[in-house]
């Protein structure tokens, strides 16, 4: 059987290499370990050894050509041996004039095999297969629907799956494929031993003509109705954004000690207090100390200082953004506010919030830290004076006692209505929250 000499992949980042020089020509006899070519990558040049004994049957790419990694650059085998047709045809496309070669070279993925003639029987939308076949298909990451069945009743059996080539893919590629309903076994991966990367899938979807239409995800425009909640949210967002002169101030809080205290509390009390619970409580305490942040405009000439501190918390739900309110948030203990917040967010996600649970807010906290956001400008929930955006916790190097140590730092983004609060007052407010978080015992005091 003719064997391939491929463009080696010498590093994770290597995508293509240049054949600087061939040391052999077609018809030459080489031994395993003989140097056959010099290859240049973006980092260095290297000598390419033959992995096989045999005769050079064909040099697919002449010296000077740039070739994607793992693509065939030459064939080796017995004199007169046939070169596999399918594989020979593939690199030919890349040999075309430079202008044409570019798109082909950028698209490493092509269907791995010709369409199957026989397909398994279906039971509804399930492939008819034995339990053993299902187990092995799962282990090999093979799609049962692509396997030719040998069972007497049209079912796929274990041996059929065993005979199918294993498909390996990165977890991300597997997920993308599942999302887009692409069968991994139809993809030729660009990685080692055909491992499929996400790029192979995206390359596939971007190629028209070069790929069978059946393999291209069908992306189409779609018009959907906004939910009632989304419509209301949209109106209120626009109103808030156009009516209020907003300023956002960003700060960072060192939460190393807070994280340690949270861990200790959770372990000793067997609870699940989140960082956000501490932020809620710290914010509630801050509002008691900075009443102007808990106020709102009453007409053009008056300010209404609200007596109760009712803290809204933004919850992303399947139907849209909801802001349930923790009433008298400053009266809670940390475990109490944690339980209250959890109950409201669960209700929110399940669509079970009552109207009175979303009314009466005096200030809002919005947390997108879990998504890694480091700073943002939340929109104020009118008629409140401000909204505190909670950002991600990140590692930060700091000097402590002359030593470099890792500290945990969380971003805070306070957006406020400048008609109600001045910049300095807001800065004091955000600093108050920061101080609470950095000395977490004071939140509990």
């Amino acid at each position: 059987m003719a064997e391939k000499i491929i463009m080696p992949k010498t590093g994770m980042a290597m995508e293509e290499g240049v054949i600087i020089e061939w040391f052999i020509k077609e018809g030459d006899v080489v031994s395993q370990g003989d140097i056959v070519a010099e290859i240049e990558t973006d980092k260095s040049s290297m000598e390419l050894e033959s992995d096989y004994d045999g005769t050079i049957l064909k040099i697919v790419h002449p010296a000077g050509t740039t070739v994607p990694v793992v693509k065939v650059i030459a064939w080796i085998g017995e004199p007169g041996e046939e070169i596999p047709e399918e594989d020979e045809a593939e690199p030919k496309a890349e040999e075309a004039s430079p202008a044409e070669a570019a798109p082909a070279a950028a698209a490493p993925a092509v269907p791995a095999s010709a369409p199957k003639t026989a397909k398994a029987d279906m039971i509804g939308d399930r492939v008819k297969a034995t339990p053993a076949a299902r187990r092995v298909a799962g282990e090999k990451n093979v799609n049962l629907a692509d396997i030719e069945p040998s069972g007497k009743h049209g079912e796929v059996r274990e041996a059929d799956v065993m005979a199918a080539p294993a498909v390996t893919a990165t977890p991300l590629a597997a997920r993308v494929a599942a999302d887009q309903d692409i069968s991994l076994s139809e993809i030729a991966g660009s990685g080692h031993a055909g491992k499929i990367f996400k790029a192979d899938l995206t390359a596939l979807s971007g190629m028209s003509g070069a790929v069978d239409e059946a393999f291209v995800p069908n992306y189409q425009d779609e018009l959907v109705d906004l939910t009632k909640i989304q419509q209301i949210t949209g109106k209120r967002m626009l109103q808030s954004h156009t009516e209020i002169p907003v300023v956002t101030e960003n700060a960072k809080a060192d939460v190393t000690e807070l994280l340690a205290m949270r861990k200790s509390l959770n372990e000793s009390l067997d609870v699940k207090i989140s960082i956000n619970d501490f932020v809620l409580l710290a914010t509630a305490r801050m509002l008691r100390l900075n009443p102007r942040m808990n106020a709102s405009l009453a007409g053009n000439n008056q300010l209404l200082y609200k007596g109760r501190i009712n803290l809204g918390m933004a919850v992303a739900t399947p139907k849209g953004l909801l802001v349930p309110v923790i009433k008298d948030a400053d009266m809670y203990s940390i475990t109490g506010i944690s339980a209250a917040a959890r109950e409201l967010s669960v209700k929110g996600r399940e669509g079970k919030l009552q109207m009175d649970e979303m009314e009466g807010g005096t200030f809002t906290v919005s947390n997108v830290g879990m998504f890694g956001v480091t700073s943002f400008t939340p929109i104020i929930n009118q008629p409140e004076a401000g909204i505190l955006g909670v950002c991600a916790v990140e590692d930060k190097l700091a000097m402590v006692d002359g030593e470099v140590v890792v500290r945990k730092e969380m971003g805070l983004s306070l957006t406020f209505d400048h008609r109600v609060v001045d910049g300095a007052e807001a800065a004091i407010a955000i600093k108050t929250v920061k101080d609470f978080l950095e000395a977490p015992l004071t939140i509990l005091a």
Partner: protein, 326 residues
């Protein structure tokens, strides 16, 4: 090792145990001077005398009831029933008395008895003397159920049954009484514990789970199929209760294809239990074909010898069933 018959192996097991334990007695119809309907007890009357090898009236209820009573009150008993079909007459003593005693007395009661009874067709004994009724007794908690397929198994399992403190129904196979096989020398004490299956033939393509007379028949089929390149594993469960589930599951996982064979009528037969053990276990995920049962036809055993041969699993039927799995 020497070759002796299945009947001789049973005789040796009883005789050796009676020599070891003076409290062990043996009762049944025509087991004394006559030596047993199938000649199993030849020589025992002469060796152990009329007090320990006792002929009984023709009443299976009496035989079983006496055995249970004697065993509850300090003796150990082997009772022989001439044909296992007559367990019908002894069922109250067996199922309601012998099997329940230990449980009724909070584990303090013990009924160390063995009810030996031959079963199976193939001798022209017709519908009332040819049945395979193991499923009836396997369904009664408190009874252990043993069906040996070779002389060595018969000897080793009978010795274990005699030493067991619970009632054991030891179902012998009429058609195997004259079969010879290698058995350990007398006195070598080859005990085979109850609840251990035996892989009689290793194979990789398909598993036959079976017991009793169907074991040699399945082995013959396996040898024939080996010539066609089909590698059959034959698992002899040997004891129905307690059942060696692990052995069945292991073999099913190994081959992925399972055929259960028994002579008893298929409907309500013990094969259904064996199939359940396999499909309820994680062997399910290794199955590469539906698990197949091959039992006897749901008819009384006919007197006509041609029909009699056809109502139970034949070599041809077993072969066809295996090929259908592959």
């Amino acid at each position: 090792m020497r070759d002796i018959t299945y009947a001789q192996a049973i005789n040796e097991a009883m005789s050796e145990e009676m020599r070891l334990d003076k409290n062990l007695i043996f009762i049944g119809e025509d087991i004394g001077v006559y030596g047993g309907a199938f000649g199993v007890s030849k020589g025992m009357f002469e060796e152990f005398g009329p007090e320990r090898v006792k002929d009984t009236p023709i009443s299976e209820q009496v035989i079983t009831g006496c055995a249970a009573g004697a065993s509850m009150t300090g003796l150990k008993t082997i009772a022989e029933m001439m044909f296992s079909d007559f367990m019908t007459l002894a069922m109250d003593q067996l199922a309601n008395q012998a099997a329940k005693n230990r449980f009724q007395f909070g584990g303090q009661g013990a009924v160390p008895m063995v009810l030996r009874a031959p079963g199976g067709s193939g001798t022209g004994a017709a519908e009332q003397h040819s049945q395979s009724l193991e499923a009836w007794v396997a369904h009664v908690p408190g009874l252990k159920v043993v069906i040996p397929s070779t002389p060595a198994d018969a000897k080793g399992l009978l010795k274990a049954s005699i030493r067991d403190n619970n009632p054991v129904v030891f179902l012998e196979q009429k058609l195997l009484y004259r079969q010879k096989g290698p058995v350990a020398e007398i006195g070598e004490d080859e005990i085979i514990p109850l609840g251990k299956a035996d892989v009689k033939r290793e194979g990789k393509d398909v598993t036959i789970i079976t017991y009793g007379r169907m074991v040699p028949r399945s082995l013959k089929v396996a040898e024939d199929l080996a010539k066609e390149g089909i590698d059959v594993e034959v698992v002899d469960i040997r004891t129905l209760v307690p059942l060696d589930k692990e052995a069945l599951i292991k073999s099913a996982k190994k081959t992925g294809k399972v055929l259960v064979v028994h002579e008893a009528c298929q409907t309500g037969g013990f094969g259904g239990e064996l199939v359940s053990v396999v499909v309820e276990s994680d062997a399910f995920f290794y199955l590469d074909a539906p698990v197949k049962r091959l039992g006897g036809l749901d008819v009384p055993i006919p007197y006509n010898p041609n029909l009699e041969a056809q109502v139970v699993p034949t070599e041809e039927k077993i072969t066809a069933a295996i090929k259908n799995l592959l």
